[in-house]
Structures are given as structure tokens and as C-alpha cells.
């Protein structure tokens, strides 16, 4: 227990001193996680709504696949995207490997199924009268769907929270695609892994505390949004 107490004290000192490496890792984490969840939401929410509400051949296998992809291993995503972005890969000429953009690509692939899964669950549980009501009041397809999303906004926010939680806490993709380059692609999780491997538990713990705080702040913020009533 003494070890944890000492580490926590050291962590607080580091945080209070505003260590630039830690601040950069925090900002990089927020940047790549924010970018990933934004792209994942743009793709995953419509995908989840489409799968949840429409009937099509092979729907059951599609739902099973979507549910399975929720548990997509980060290392596998990192490996596949690495193959595409490496110099010999089909997208190697873009020069994206070991950049924040590469982490965003991997993070997007990781959390799109999560967002889609939660959006699908929200859509399936939605009141069946929402769309007909919007349509009979004269809404066109776009307005009717926007209203539908607005009516299930709590489920959609849950999808975004779950996706963000997954991407901000993953380490495999950030390590393989970002390369853990100090001051450039080092995120909170890769920094924790690095500091711990070097035996610098205090630094690792400091970043762990920040990671927890970030997750908490994001969740509190989204919970407040959910509680807002018109």
C-alpha cells in the first residue's frame, strides 16, 4: 500500500507542476480520441440506425457480426492498419504511419462498431410511432430522421460515451500506429506503458490519474447533456 501512496503523492506533484510531457500526452490523447469518436459517430450512428430499423436479407448475420466487432482486439486493428499504412502497404505513399492521423484511423475502426451497436440497440428500442408521426406532420426524410435521432438522443449519447471510453483507454493501436513518439504521437496510455516499463511508477500513476479524470469529466459532461430537458 505504501507503494501506491508514494506513487499517488508523486503523481500529484507531477500534475501540479504541469509537466510538459504529460500535458502533451494528455492533449494528444484527447485529440486522437476526439477525432476517432467524431468519425466513428458519423459512420456508426447511421449504420446502427439502418441495421436496427430496416429489414434486409442476412440481417441476422449482420447483427451478429456487428455485435462481435464490439470486442475487436486493438492489436488486430493496429496490425491490419499498420499493413495498409506501412511503406510497402497499399496506402504507404500517404506517409501516415507513426502520425496522429494513423491513430485516428485505427481508433475510428475500433470504435465504429461500438457506436453502431449502441445506436442499433437504441433504434430497436425506440417508439415505433416517432417516424410516422414526424412524416404525417409533413417532415421530409432528413427532418424525420433528425427528429428520430433527437428522440433517442440518450441512447445515442450512450453510444458516443462507450466509443470514447474504448478509444481513449486503448494502447495497442496508439503504440503500433503512432509509434509512441515523444511530443508527437505519445498518448496517455502509451506513456503509462513506457513509464511503467522504465520503472517510473509515479509518472505512470500520474498519467493514470489524468486518464481517469478525463474519462470522468467526459462522462459527467455527457450525463449533464442527457439530463438537459427542453
Amino acid at each position: 500500500m505504501e507503494f501506491f501512496a508514494d506513487s499517488m503523492n508523486a503523481a500529484l506533484s507531477l500534475l501540479l507542476s504541469a509537466d510538459p510531457d504529460i500535458l502533451h500526452a494528455v492533449l494528444t490523447s484527447l485529440l486522437v480520441s476526439g477525432g476517432s469518436i467524431l468519425l466513428a459517430s458519423l459512420m456508426g450512428i447511421p449504420l446502427g440506425l439502418a441495421v436496427g430499423l430496416s429489414e434486409f436479407p442476412l440481417k441476422r448475420p449482420a447483427v451478429t457480426l456487428l455485435n462481435s466487432l464490439v470486442a475487436l482486439p486493438t492489436v488486430l486493428v493496429g496490425l491490419v492498419v499498420y499493413g495498409f499504412l506501412s511503406r510497402r502497404g497499399p496506402l504507404g505513399s500517404l506517409g501516415l504511419l507513426f502520425t496522429p492521423a494513423a491513430i485516428v484511423i485505427g481508433g475510428t475502426i475500433l470504435c465504429t462498431p461500438i457506436v453502431a451497436h449502441y445506436a442499433m440497440v437504441a433504434a430497436k428500442g425506440a417508439d415505433a410511432r416517432i417516424l410516422p408521426t414526424a412524416m404525417t406532420l409533413g417532415a421530409g426524410p432528413v427532418r424525420a430522421w433528425l427528429k428520430f435521432v433527437s428522440e433517442i438522443r440518450f441512447g445515442i449519447l450512450a453510444a458516443v460515451v462507450a466509443g470514447f471510453g474504448r478509444v481513449v483507454s486503448e494502447v495497442g493501436i496508439a503504440m503500433m500506429l503512432g509509434g509512441n513518439i515523444r511530443g508527437y504521437t505519445r498518448t496517455m496510455t502509451t506513456a503509462i506503458a513506457l513509464e511503467t516499463s522504465k520503472g517510473k511508477f509515479a509518472e505512470g500513476m500520474a498519467l493514470g490519474v489524468v486518464l481517469m479524470a478525463v474519462a470522468l469529466i467526459v462522462n459527467v459532461f455527457l450525463s449533464l447533456l442527457q439530463q438537459r430537458r427542453p
Binding site: R129, P132, T133, A134, M135, L137, G138, S150, E151, P230
Partner: protein, 233 residues
């Protein structure tokens, strides 16, 4: 002679291969009031959904003012803006009463004072003046039904389709809704009201359409032209 408001020609609607509605020929005249009477499962709600263009027929053709209506076309979208369906158990959006009232108006591009005036007037009509800021989800069942009616009235529809509007409402709400519904044909609105029992005096001037097992029986003859149709707005 102008065409009827609606004409259904050899219309059939199936659900999972089972025929829910089969209408060889049906005409609905503009500005008239119709009672669609039948038991549960007779096909009333299906027919109303077809007329509201919320559901395409599996077979057959639906004409509106003499023009064929094809689902998903801009023409169908324009027609739908003239027709409003009030469901038996209406859904109110998770918003204020005002937010519910103005949804359809905003979809039609109505803004500002016109929007507020229409919303306020329709609330007055159903006896809920001053309810604008109330949360829709906090209303009683009768109030919710009246707000749903006000939401439909705010759009000044040319056709109002009502699915069991008086089912599960208190006496006061039923009286208010009956008065409102009875006044609509005089304003030129075509009313088609689905109900279990057509015997209420408020519906005495309406044409009766009996529906059973998805068929209207006997098929009514097209009525005469309405005496004083209006253009609406």
C-alpha cells in the same frame, strides 16, 4: 367534373403475405366527413395509413385529386403535407407543447410570428390556451390527446385522418374533440374518422364506410360534389 379527392383502384395491402386490406374501388369526396366503422383488425388503421401515404399499397393504385401517387416521390411528399393522420395513441415528441405544435409548421418553412400565432390558435381551439411551455411528457392522457389534435390543426390540413380519436379519453376531452371534429368539414377539411361505433350524434352527417376483414362492404357510391369546398391554406 373534378376528380374525387381520393380514389383507390384495386388496392391491396399485405403484411407478411397476409392480406390486411383489399379495396376494389373507393372514392373519397373533398370537404366531406366519413366514418370508417369496423372492429379491431378490420383494416381501419391500415386504410388510414394508406390514405396518409405512410404506407404504400402492395398492389393497386391510389389517386389523389386524379393524379397517381407513387410512394417516395416529390409528388407524394407534397400530398402528404395536405394530409395529417392523428393516431389512436398519438406520440408527442420529448419537447415542450410549443415544440410539438411547431414541428410541422417549421417543416413547412413557417417562422416567427405566424408560427406562434398558429400554435396559440390551435391550442385555444382545443381548450389548452397557455400550455405552450408545458412539457409534453408531463401532460395527462386527455391533455396529450388534445395537444396532438392541436398539433394537427395547426397545419390546417386539407384532409384529417383520425384513428379512434375518442378512445381512452375522459368525458371533457371527448366533448372538446367532438366539437372540433364536427366543425372541420364546415371549414372545408375532409375528415375520415375510424371508430368502433358510428352511432354518436356528432357523426350523424357523415357518410358511413363499414369495413370488415379488410373490405369495405358494401362499396359506397361516390358522393356528390361538396357544396362549398375551400382551398385551405
Amino acid at each position: 367534373m373534378s376528380p374525387p379527392l381520393y380514389r383507390l383502384e384495386s388496392v391491396m395491402r399485405r403484411y407478411n403475405g397476409v392480406v390486411a386490406l383489399e379495396i376494389p374501388d373507393l372514392s373519397i369526396a373533398e370537404g366531406r366527413s366519413y366514418i370508417l366503422a369496423g372492429q379491431n383488425g378490420a383494416g381501419k388503421s391500415t386504410l388510414l395509413s394508406l390514405l396518409a401515404l405512410l404506407l404504400p399499397p402492395s398492389e393497386g393504385t391510389l389517386y389523389y385529386r386524379g393524379e397517381k401517387v407513387f410512394a417516395g416521390t416529390p409528388h407524394a411528399f407534397r400530398v402528404r403535407r395536405e394530409v395529417t393522420l392523428l393516431h389512436q395513441s398519438p406520440y408527442l415528441f420529448d419537447d415542450t407543447v410549443f415544440g410539438n405544435l411547431v414541428f410541422g409548421l417549421a417543416a413547412r418553412g413557417i417562422r416567427g410570428e405566424d408560427l406562434r400565432r398558429s400554435a396559440g390558435r390551435s391550442l385555444e381551439t382545443v381548450g389548452l390556451a397557455g400550455f405552450e411551455r408545458r412539457k409534453a411528457r408531463g401532460l395527462s392522457g386527455g391533455e396529450a390527446q388534445r395537444v396532438a389534435m392541436a398539433r394537427a390543426l395547426a397545419l390546417s390540413p386539407k384532409v384529417l385522418l383520425l384513428d379512434e380519436p375518442l378512445a381512452n379519453v375522459d368525458r371533457e376531452t371527448a366533448d372538446v374533440l367532438q366539437d372540433v371534429i364536427a366543425s372541420l368539414p364546415r371549414a372545408g377539411t375532409t375528415v375520415i374518422l375510424a371508430t368502433h361505433g358510428p352511432s354518436h350524434p356528432a357523426w350523424s352527417g357523415s357518410e358511413l364506410l363499414r369495413i370488415a376483414n379488410g373490405r369495405i362492404d358494401p362499396p359506397p357510391q361516390p358522393g356528390p360534389e361538396p357544396a362549398n369546398p375551400t382551398d385551405g391554406d
